[in-house]
Symmetry: C2
Subunit: 218 residues, 2 copies
DNA sequence: CAATAAAATATCCATTTGTCTAATAATTCT
DNA sequence: AGAATTATTAGACAAATGGATATTTTATTG
């Protein structure tokens, strides 16, 4: 048998009732589904079931599937960015750009590990021009400062780093190291083939940050 | 009006007829569609139209949608690997591991740029455990040697590289630098935000290879 | 307390999906 | 030349989808 949904008669829920499943929780489930199965692959009914509500309500609350997707990305991006800046390990300027960049990379990756969905969405949407890609990129940058990017610019402008295009280390970090933490099933499958020394995720993260920082030095 | 398909009466095509659209071409279109819109997002009818045949035929030729996907990945992987090993810039051992690895990275990335679909598929499937992911990983490694991976192992075993887990540089290369060449729409959108010095793709590639090789040095 | 608004489900609808079958035309075999 | 085979299209089909509507229950308001 599939999951036995207890039929609930229609009607506005009474206040005493448990779990009125707020929008925030719905958007969490939705983002998860979109990141895992893609926009077309995720269905409203499936998400609604995961939320424990009817698909009609889900549609009514967010207007349309596209509206649900947009709201989910918006919330996910807010979470990601908020965690990244609050987690931010603020080192004094005296610590040197190397160390500050390293810390920022680790923060970045630990946050991606905690909220992998956005990177997964970028991976899914990134290979075609679409309104959804535009929206992702826009919300990624809209009014947001990403410490890693700032430090990369600082290093470039000061000449402390080799003169590579900033998109190079940034993409290596976000999509390369990001894959290490966000594409777990893939990395584990490949890992098994490449070498059998298992390494804890935190060591993978520092290794990746090391590699990028060292690679950038002038 | 949508694309006006000229109706062709059923029946085996005469040999003189143009464009019998062989399997190979179909698999190309299919791989493109799957990589761009995901497994669920790509439809048989859409792919068949792109091939100029009926969807029934497409299904008959490959048995099922899953069969089409599998065959497309198989062919794509063959192409990718074949190009990578034939393109392989074979440097003499005297050239040093650094230079050989650098050349292998460039080969790898230039090949990904020519056949981006496989990396796109890995990005799409990598965030969930699925039979499709298993198949991708299996065909990626089945009887295939990837020069980059061999050189990484050589460096690790000889102690010339820092002792990082091989999955780290490999993933940085495949997914990070891979994104630079395979997720063009995304990179271009982000690039515009990050910095406005446009750089030719070949320079992006050598920059990424530089960064990785330098970052690995002991 | 009655009337209205709000929040939820059930249900319907047109469209699209993957798959299967029947029909049809060209080729190959005997 | 006729029979069998092969490669193709058209069309049917059930299941699933996004969306819209009708209905039911509760809360709020006057």
């Amino acid at each position: 048998m599939t999951t036995e949904t207890v039929k609930r008669r229609p009607g506005r829920p009474s206040q005493s009732e448990q779990s009125p499943v707020d929008d925030e929780a719905c958007l969490d489930r939705a983002l998860e589904a979109f990141a895992e199965r893609g926009y077309e692959g995720a269905s409203l009914r499936e998400i609604a079931t995961a939320c424990g509500i009817s698909h009609g309500l889900l549609n009514a609350r967010f207007g349309s599937k596209q509206g649900l997707w947009t709201a989910a990305v918006e919330q996910g991006m807010d979470r990601l960015h908020h965690r990244m800046v609050t987690l931010q390990t603020r080192l004094p300027k005296s610590a040197g750009l190397d160390q500050r960049l390293h810390a920022a990379c680790v923060d970045f990756l630990e946050t991606l590990a905690a909220y992998p969905a956005i990177i997964q969405l970028m991976n899914i949407e990134g290979s075609r021009n679409s309104a959804r890609l535009d929206y992702i990129v826009e919300t990624f940058f809209r009014n947001r400062e990403w410490p890693v990017a700032s430090l990369l610019e600082e290093g470039r402008d000061s000449g402390l780093f080799r003169p590579v295009h900033i998109a190079v280390p940034f993409t290596l970090l976000a999509h390369g190291a990001g894959a290490l933490v966000a594409l777990r099933p893939l990395v584990e499958a490949v890992d098994e083939r490449l070498s059998n020394e298992p390494e804890a995720q935190s060591r993978l993260i520092t290794s990746a940050a090391d590699l990028i920082v060292r690679g950038l030095r002038a």
